[in-house]
């Protein structure tokens, strides 16, 4: 069924009681041409593009929990592409290109809203580093402009630009094409579109082993629902990547940390774009429901607990109130955590692995939601062609041996 004004009207007549199921919950077949481990946005995206772009429809996405229940459903949905290095500009801007028009392509409203991302500069170092980013971005064809304090305040009226503040606003870098989207819709939209093309989505089915043949190549996955054969396996398991890769005898340059976020009670529109501040270390946006969406950096110790420490949330709120005292009396509704897989250079790993038939998409750390369509597409390409796309070629695993890091960590030290 196609979502349209007509189908909306027709279903209204029957009291919205007859909408069909959007994606069936499948039981595994014996064998597929390819298996994706992890039904997050990235994994579901990969399945969708394998089927829609590369003609591989006999594939399954195997998920240990429920679809979109990992970081996809836990993130704060900031989308931007104003990263420093050429390789990063390539991969993140590729994703932003795909975000444009994604709702139409999937016939599912992912609510991509280009409300812009404003990164505030509070000291000379910030100003220098952000203007460098603006120039580097523009050389790469990525939109990003420098705003004076007055221009920042025009965009965000509640911003106090008095020079006497503890963290005075000295300007900001603004990317207009950036913004937010609705996280669940992204997972559901890809799942629905992929299912339609014949992809099996198998939930509540944890992968517990990777079977390899005498030549070392993969033969399939052992799961809670038994063995499923496939000559190609794409792992897109975010925070649990190390655990899955170990099943194939591989150790990865990853550490898994909790990352928390929180939302306030809903209020009328007051935060018009995403606002980030490295100096106080926090960011904020407002959801279409009216909640303030607030986050910062990871917890300090590695963990798979999907929860973090309370004092980090306290720091986060203190930082937001430092910039926006107007929010001091807001009440917070919910706080949660996800587990993010962090690489030493804070750039992802997307490509082939030393094991034949095993592909990986991981290491997106605190900032992979924005990359969802791009990562999905590039993983699909890499699996279908058995070689990386030029855009993800630099994001190989070998860079940690050869030394050609893509060190966004050193370049920006920004989250998300």
């Amino acid at each position: 069924m196609k979502f349209s004004a007509r189908s909306l009207f027709a279903n209204a007549l029957s009291g919205h009681k007859n909408w069909p199921e959007q994606f069936p919950n499948k039981e595994p077949k014996k064998e597929y041409d390819a298996i994706i481990v992890g039904a997050g946005g990235h994994g579901l995206g990969a399945a969708y593009y394998l089927a829609s772009k590369y003609g591989m429809t006999n594939i399954a996405v195997v998920e240990k929990g429920w679809l979109g229940g990992g970081n996809t459903g836990r993130n704060t949905t900031i989308i931007r592409s104003n990263y420093l290095f050429d390789e990063s500009a390539g991969i993140y801007d590729h994703a932003v290109d795909l975000w444009d028009g994604l709702s139409q392509e999937l016939n599912y409203n992912v609510m991509f809203s280009k409300r812009g991302v404003l990164m505030l500069a509070h000291n000379v170092h910030d100003v220098q580093s952000f203007t460098r980013h603006v120039h580097a971005n523009r050389l790469n064809g990525v939109d990003n402009v420098w705003l004076t304090p007055e221009e920042c305040q025009k965009k965000v009226p509640i911003l106090d630009i008095s020079p006497n503040r503890r963290y005075p606003v000295m300007g900001g870098a603004f990317q207009q094409r950036a913004g937010v989207a609705r996280h669940d819709s992204v997972a559901w939209g890809y799942a629905r579109a992929a299912s339609k093309l014949g992809v099996d989505i198998i939930q509540n089915c944890k992968v517990i082993g990777i079977r390899r043949g005498a030549d070392g190549a993969v033969e399939g996955v052992e799961t809670e629902k038994g063995f499923i054969g496939a000559k190609k396996i794409g792992v897109s398991a975010a925070g649990n990547t190390s655990v899955v890769m170990e099943m194939a005898g591989l150790r990865f340059p990853l550490e898994s940390y909790p990352l928390q976020a929180l939302v306030s009670e809903p209020v009328k529109p007051i935060v018009p774009c995403v606002i980030m501040s490295n100096a106080v270390h926090a960011y904020i946006s407002q959801s279409d429901k009216g909640e303030l969406v607030i986050g910062a950096g990871t917890d300090q110790y590695t963990s798979y607990s999907q929860r973090g420490a309370l004092h980090l949330v306290e720091h986060n709120i203190m930082a937001i109130c430092e910039i926006f005292p107007v929010f001091k009396r807001m009440r917070m509704l919910r706080n949660w955590g996800g587990i993010v897989d962090v690489t030493p250079d804070r750039s992802p790993i997307l490509g082939k692995t030393p094991v034949k038939g095993l592909y990986v998409n991981c290491g997106w750390g605190t900032g992979g939601f924005k990359a969802t369509p791009g990562a999905g597409h590039l993983l699909a390409y890499t699996i279908a062609k058995d070689e990386p796309h030029p855009i993800n070629a630099p994001f190989n695993l070998d860079r940690f041996v050869g030394g050609r890091l893509i060190d966004e960590a050193a370049a920006a030290a920004v989250a998300h």
């Binding site: 150790r251 340059p253 990853l254 300090q300 590695t302 963990s303 607990s305 004092h311 041996v401």
Partner: protein, 104 residues
Amino acid sequence: MMLIHCPHCDEKRPEVEFAYAGEAHIVRPNAEQQQAMSDAKWSEFLFIRDNVRGEHCERWWHANGCNMFFNAVRNTVTDKFIKTYKIGQKRPTQAQIQKWKSAK
């Protein structure tokens, strides 16, 4: 907030006094060993981590306390500390960890 036992102070102190310092028992190769090391081995030393889902040997620093480093075994799924011990002690075996767990 977690309470962490510092083996130097021999006291349980609140988590905010401590800083996490990564996986424990990673031995830094000396200058001679470094000369002889392959790029792959060097990469492993620098970047590859076990990232265990379960019992993890890790280093902590009592930064806002006695200022000493120590090691700990912590379950990364529950975040519960099983044991803290002084640096210099060998990496505990699985049997040792099991013993510590049942002693609790």
